[in-house]
């Protein structure tokens, strides 16, 4: 085990994969000379040279489309979006080309591309820079969607993503980049679609992913001390494929569900999960499934308001827990 930050863990995965496979190439805005807008790729240009670490112009549609085209020939591009928010200008390339080309060709073409970058609010950068499109991406069959919550998972899932033969959308979080964690050494991968039980409990199931796992764990600890509640926290790790079985198993044990996500509730990942849970485990439920998410409006700038009210945080998770336990 080594202690690495989430950022370092991703960098380690990228570096190890670059060394393992000559077809892996990293492209994106400011990834090379500038060392990465969020320093994920820091030092990599120096180490691996300009063929493998490539600075692109500010042309998301152009370079993501180019990466998709190259991946059809067997290159494994890992494309950085400075923010996932900028996927909107490359949306056509992602949903029409990456997601569809295998299908429309009757299975003749594979598209082994990874698109990665941060997708989160909470940094007071306003509505244009705070999008969390995991629900929108997961809505498109053909795409895989990965949302790691900690350093060890980020590294292992990134390695899986790069080796995967389907297009993988990898959503990170700027507020997690500096968070350290224990990361196993060596070539450790994690399969997609295997949720983690981040905390065991019997009284309530929280389903979360990404940074909301951190909020949920904090809230669960508080509820243990204050109310003696044993709360189970499930970290989905990937949205598509989705580990429904782990969720249902937990529901069968706790009979109560709170979904915590950094998503606006309208057509969110959580609304999808709630639909599945009620379809498959209706008789297990002792209370309605509740959700804690982002207040349904564009991301507000006002720093304290965004943090305290609009986004999920431990206090709001606690309030959600108390509501489900009522």
């Amino acid at each position: 085990m080594a202690t690495l930050t989430y950022r370092e863990a991703i960098r380690a995965a990228l570096s190890e994969e670059i060394e393992r496979d000559p077809n892996v190439v990293i492209l994106g805005e400011e990834v090379a000379q500038f060392n990465g807008a969020y320093k994920v790729t820091e030092g990599m240009l120096e180490k691996y040279g300009p063929k493998r670490i490539v600075d692109t112009p500010i042309s998301e549609a152009g370079f993501i489309g180019m990466g998709i085209g190259a991946s059809m020939l067997g290159i494994r591009p890992v494309m950085e979006l400075m923010f996932w928010s900028f996927y909107s200008v490359a949306f056509d390339q992602i949903v029409n080309n990456a997601a569809n080309v295998r299908y429309m060709s009757g299975g003749q073409i594979a598209c082994p591309i990874v698109i990665r970058g941060p997708a989160n609010g909470g940094t007071n950068v306003g509505a244009t820079h705070s999008h969390t499109p995991e629900n929108i991406l997961a809505h498109h069959p053909g795409l895989k969607v990965v949302v790691p919550s900690n350093a060890a998972d980020a590294k292992a899932l990134m390695k899986t993503a790069i080796r995967d033969n389907d297009p993988v959308m990898f959503l990170e979080n700027t507020l997690l980049y500096g968070v350290p964690g224990e990361v196993p050494e060596g070539d450790v991968t994690l399969p997609f679609g295997r949720a983690a039980i981040a905390r065991e409990g019997k009284d309530l199931t929280i389903v979360a992913y990404g940074r909301c796992v951190v909020h949920s764990l904090a809230a669960a600890e508080q509820m243990k001390t204050e109310k003696g509640l044993d709360i189970e926290v499930i970290d989905l790790r990937t949205i598509r494929p989705l580990d429904v079985n782990t969720v249902l198993k937990s529901v069968a044990k706790t009979h109560r569900v709170l979904i915590v996500e950094e998503q606006r509730p309208f057509c969110s990942v959580g609304s999808h999960l709630a639909a599945i849970i009620q379809e498959e485990a209706f008789d297990e439920l002792d209370a309605p499934i509740l959700r804690v998410g982002t207040i349904d409006a564009p991301a507000i700038y006002a720093p304290p308001v965004e943090k305290q009210f609009q986004l999920p945080n431990p206090e709001r998770v606690v309030a959600g827990i108390l509501k489900v336990m009522r």
Binding site: N96, R102, M104, G106, R240, D243
Partner: protein, 370 residues
């Protein structure tokens, strides 16, 4: 939808006036190197494309082809000329008017027709349709329905070829309307910035649906290359020799020096934008007739090859009959083929879920609600 077309034979119907005979491009190196057999094959390919597409019309009108059907009739010399220059590391990608390129790269017409029918024997197993033909084994990467969306992909093919150290090039085809898409300009910049071996081939048939070039585009289309310091060519697309002469030079430059270029090719489509276009509001009948009568690519090349004594009347008739029979056989094949099953709907979505052994876990890849 247009009513059943009167289907005049589109070659030999009118006394064809060839602009100049022999073709001034006959002596270009790419053409001078052709054997008589190769020339006959080029002619045959154009005839096969036309007969195939003509055969689609009654099938469409009988309601057996769904959605859109964008015919390439009138533009055949472009795809056949361009694709005839491909070496083993050269790649092609185009838009939705893709039947001509598909036949030009060597796809069999039976699965092409079956794809139009939506049959499981189609080239994309009935999952792509007319606009989405693919043959990666022939370096043909589609068949793309979003105007201009294929151009970054074509640039990526060139990036891949160069990254892997191969001496090839990609030809990314688009229409005259596509040059106004932002993604095309992003791709131009990337290609020029990084010296990618890609040719951006504009098939300028003068209209994007019902909007003429004059009403949609400022300035000369090919000239936009200059803003990116790219070489550009403009040439006629009616004389197959001219297409080959121009693209041969551009392709050599791309392969040998990794230099991209824009190649604007003047061409014309005889049919409506798609078969559903009544074609009554935006251009004159006379304009279409003039093109057919004076610039038909099949007739021009036929005249040239007769002049060269490569084609005889007997051979012309034989090629035509064979192409018609081939189109009929494609229809028979499509008719006799089954549709995909309901189970097929969720195949070919993910590479992974099509494998015997999955790498991911998780029960839900697909959310099936019944």
């Amino acid at each position: 939808m247009s009513k059943k077309p009167s289907a005049p034979a589109e070659t030999g119907a009118a006394p064809a006036v060839t602009p100049s005979l022999p073709s001034p491009h006959a002596k270009a190196p790419a053409n001078a190197a052709l054997t008589a057999e190769q020339k006959i094959e080029l002619y045959r390919k154009m005839v096969r494309i036309r007969r195939f597409e003509e055969r689609c019309l009654p099938v469409y009108n009988a309601g057996k082809i769904g959605g859109f059907l964008h015919l390439y009739i009138g533009q055949e010399a472009v795809a056949v000329g361009a694709c005839s220059l491909m070496g083993k590391d050269d790649h092609v990608i185009t838009a939705y008017r893709d039947h001509g390129h598909a036949i030009a790269v060597g796809m069999d017409t039976k699965p092409l027709m079956a794809e139009l029918y939506g049959k499981v024997t189609g080239c994309s197993k009935g999952k792509g349709g007319s606009m989405h033909y693919f043959a990666p084994d022939l370096n043909y990467w589609g068949g793309h329905g979003i105007v201009g969306g294929q151009i970054p992909l074509g640039t990526g093919l060139a990036y891949g070829v160069k990254y892997q150290g191969k001496k090839g090039a990609a030809m990314a085809f688009m229409g005259d309307g596509a040059v106004n898409q932002g993604a095309v300009h992003e791709a131009y910049n990337l290609a020029a910035l990084w010296d990618l071996p890609v040719l951006f081939v504009i098939e300028n048939n003068r209209y994007s649906m019902g909007t003429s070039q004059e009403r949609s585009s400022a300035g000369e289309l090919g000239k936009r290359a200059e803003a990116y310091d790219m070489k550009w060519y403009v040439c006629g697309g009616h004389d197959l020799y001219e297409v080959r002469a121009t693209l041969d030079e551009a392709l050599r430059r791309a392969r040998e020096q990794h230099k991209p270029a824009v190649v604007e090719i003047d061409t014309y489509r005889y049919r409506g934008h798609s078969v559903a276009d009544p074609d009554k509001t935006y251009r004159d009948r006379k304009e279409i007739e003039d093109y057919r009568n004076t610039k038909d690519p099949l007739q021009i090349f036929q005249n040239q090859l007769v002049f060269e004594k490569v084609l005889t009347d007997a051979l012309i008739a034989e090629i035509d009959a064979a192409a018609r029979a081939e189109a009929d056989r494609a229809v028979e094949f499509a008719e006799a083929s089954p549709f995909p099953t309901a189970e097929d709907i969720q195949k070919d979505v993910y590479w992974e879920t099509d494998q015997a052994q999955r790498t991911s876990e998780g029960r839900i890849f697909f959310n099936n609600i019944d």
